[in-house]
């Protein structure tokens, strides 16, 4: 009976496999620990070396485990390693930071030399930091980046262990807000040099001075933990013991995990975001990122016509687009600079709201007016029809957006759009080389000041892919950096006027300000979200 043996073994193994499959269902339910928080990210940590990090995920992990000079509590800048918020001297060109007593997680004290070391290391071309350009404006920074001077000549110095001094070439009104960016965080020279090129590549090769300590991160993995740092200077206000982070890429998986209690905070998009909006624990996190259309005026000269651009803008029903296509909590913008980014230095009014007072009609949906402007524009430019290519990323959201724009804009008589979706890098290259007619671009703030957005669309700026140009605009931006740099009110008005010009002419066509839809467990209290798009877990508690 050879058969029975062989087929029997085969059947046995298969049945055993099925049995295993069927019986593996038992699992431990998530801990109901009152001091543990489980959240998700859409991608992995790329590095924990604060000098080279550019992405938001690594940025959040650094904000959780490190402390820079300042820290955001909501939209308020608060002193962290610095003992107070510093007012610059010497016409806004010198900053002297007094450091508070603090310790690294290996017991070393945090000193001014740690800042000097970190900054000089970050700007050194050998470090390959993609954020080095943020140092521009500090004495010698530009020359160091260009390789003309050594990194040691950067205009920073440690006057003593607790005094850190920065010297600028010219006043930078938003310099203080930049200090929350991880590239300006201190680094422990001893640890960095000992780890060499392995610094920041896993949780054993880093040292922290922040509220939490990173654990169980192997450098490439999909999960990690952040455990409370008992030696943190402000440890008494850190009320969470542990944060578990898990990478989840599929929004329906995120939704399923949240609903079964495996996640306390889920980031959702598309259909899941729409579903979440009907639930009571939904939260919208507005981000300082604006999506906009750029029109290539160089390639298609007809688009130099203001009325054609205004017609395109008014054909877009932004609110409906956000509700139905994006389905998340995004905001219909009234201009390039997003909401909640900056406040009027005297009245406290929001920048985008103040600028919208005179220009909101240009971003309002008005089909009749759009068609009227469109036909006038066509007449003025002597063009009968326009065949344009709409360049976008190949992400799900970008594709859906482009489908909507195609269908909405083809209501304008004579306008024909073809969609070209390409990978992100390809889109960037083609935008920069001017190989597009119309492109969906996005810009996120490096620091919360309108200039980070408005600077891009001066005539000579290399990010001005569409080549829109306006002399008044250029002058206002130049004034804000030059003669009005130390006068907050005059500077504010320069920027305000610039945004009004840009919106009126629709030099770029704003589409939406991104806001993430989150489901957040109701037991969380006092969790703040900053204009730099980061959570601050200090002070947050569960109840």
């Amino acid at each position: 009976m050879r058969f029975n043996k062989r087929l029997g073994v085969l059947a046995g193994v298969a049945v055993a496999a099925l049995f295993l499959v069927a019986c593996g269902g038992n699992q431990s339910s998530s801990s109901t620990d009152t001091k543990t928080w489980s959240r998700m990210e859409g991608d992995v940590i790329s590095s924990m070396d604060s000098a080279v990090v550019t992405d938001a995920i690594s940025g959040q992990a650094l904000v959780d485990t490190m402390d820079g000079l300042y820290r955001y509590a909501g939209s308020d800048l608060q002193p962290a390693m610095a003992s107070k918020i510093v007012t610059p001297t010497n016409d806004g060109k010198t900053y002297t930071f007094k450091l508070r007593d603090a310790k690294w997680s290996n017991g070393d004290p945090v000193t001014a030399q740690d800042f000097v070391f970190a900054w000089k290391r970050a700007i050194d071309p050998k470090t390959k930091s993609q954020y080095a350009y943020l140092f521009s404006g500090i004495v010698n920074a530009d020359d160091i980046m260009a390789g003309k001077k050594a990194a040691s000549t950067l205009g920073v110095k440690a006057i003593d262990d607790k005094t850190f001094e920065v010297t600028l070439d010219h006043a930078i009104p938003y310099f203080g807000t930049m200090m929350v960016n991880p590239v300006f965080f201190p680094q422990n020279q001893k640890v960095v040099e000992k780890a060499g090129k392995n610094y920041g590549t896993n949780s054993d090769n880093i040292v922290s001075n922040g509220p939490f300590i990173l654990k169980n991160w192997n450098g490439t993995g999909n999960s990690w933990n952040e455990v409370k740092n008992k030696d943190y200077w402000n440890a008494k206000n850190v009320k969470l013991n542990k944060i578990n982070v898990q990478v989840i890429k599929d929004p329906s998986t995120a939704m399923n995990l949240y609903q079964s209690g495996k996640l306390d905070d889920a980031t959702l998009s598309g259909a899941q975001a729409a579903q979440a909006k009907t639930m009571k624990d939904v939260t919208a996190l507005k981000q300082a990122t604006t999506f906009y259309l750029e029109l290539n005026e160089k390639k298609t000269p007809a688009l130099k016509n203001e009325k054609l651009r205004q017609a395109i803008s008014m054909s877009l029903n932004r609110k409906e687009f956000i509700d139905k296509v994006l389905q998340d909590s995004s905001v219909a913008p009234t201009g390039l600079v997003p909401e909640n980014l900056a406040k009027n230095p005297t009245t406290g009014e929001d920048f985008s709201k103040e600028a919208a007072k005179t220009t909101s009609q240009y971003t309002k949906y008005d089909k009749t007016e759009a068609k009227k402007l469109w036909s006038e524009g066509l007449k003025e430019t002597n063009v009968k029809s326009l065949n344009l290519e709409l360049l976008t990323d190949d992400t799900d959201v970008a594709k859906k957006s482009s489908e909507y724009f195609q269908s909405a804009l083809e209501d304008l008589p004579g306008l024909k759009l073809t969609i070209s979706s390409v990978p992100f890098k390809t889109r960037l290259t083609r935008s920069q080389n001017g190989q597009f007619d119309m492109v969906i671009s996005a810009w996120g703030a490096d620091f919360p000041d309108p200039i980070t957005f408005l600077d891009m669309f001066t005539s000579s700026n290399s990010y001005n892919n569409g080549k829109w140009s306006n002399a008044d605009y250029d002058k206002l931006i130049a004034d804000s950096k030059g003669k009005d740099a130390t006068n907050p009110e005059a500077r504010w008005n320069d920027l305000l006027k610039a945004q009004e010009i840009l919106t009126k002419e629709q030099g770029i066509i704003p589409i939406y300000q991104r806001a993430q839809t989150h489901l957040v467990n109701k037991k969380m209290h006092d969790l703040q979200y900053s204009p730099a798009n980061m959570y601050n877990f200090v002070n947050a508690y569960l109840k």
Partner: protein, 308 residues
Amino acid sequence: MIKYILKRVGYLILTLFLVASITFFLMKLLPGTPFNNPKLPPDQIEALKAQYGLDKPVWQQYLSYMLGLLHGDMGMSFQFSGQSVSYLIMSRIGPSLQLGLQAMILGTLLGILLGAVAAIRKNTWVDSVATIFAILGRSIPNFVFAALLQFFLAYKLRLFPIALWDGFSSSILPTIALAMAPLANTARFMRTEMVDVLNSDYIELARSKGETRWQTVANHALRNSMIPIVTIIGPMAVDLMVGSLVVENVFAIPGIGEQFVKSITTNDYPVIMGLTIMYSFMLTVVILIVDILYGVIDPRIRLNEEAN
């Protein structure tokens, strides 16, 4: 036989060399820079390129890359700063290999069983049920199937973990989702071959010698029907690689598959090349093993190969 295997290993090295070279030059055709910050000023991009050696002539980059490969050095990832490609692969390959193996074993065993039963009970309801089951397994894309499994078995019925990589129980649903393709392919091939074999003269001879139907199946039909299954193991391994990408995404598994597409869309050249070479290596090894197995199962082929 040993001489034959040595010769094949030689070819394997040649193959890998060619694959590495072709991929290297294809990567150079990709547009865009590998730096992931859209705000980098152009002069900074040039400076960064110089730091990564990307400003050198292509042949120099090629030479230094190939020399590195000889030492097992696949370069450093652009996306993960300070992380070597070999470490990235090593640290993420475990879950992918485990899932792939589990799915392959589950899929082929069930497939052989299903196909054999269908062939023996040809043209009965057993056959129809087995056939339709096998076809259905190939008719639903695995991203849909994975989502359905997750939604009904894990979310609604709470039989399995919804996602994440946490012990054997969390690997069950992904394994089932992955196993559908090899299961369907194997079942189908098995049935086809088995029907052929059962119709052949030597089975009739065996039957006429007095062996029962089941004895002939066990002694002759099974072994002879398994030959074509060996030939599809290679392609099935490719299917599993592609499938693992989707399944890893849906179940949030820290494997190598999901990293692959990401490295392509982020122009992480060293990772793309490293993964391509690794996939190629695994494939060529699978094919080599298949060819040797083929010789073991069917002596006629071995004789042919050795004569060459």
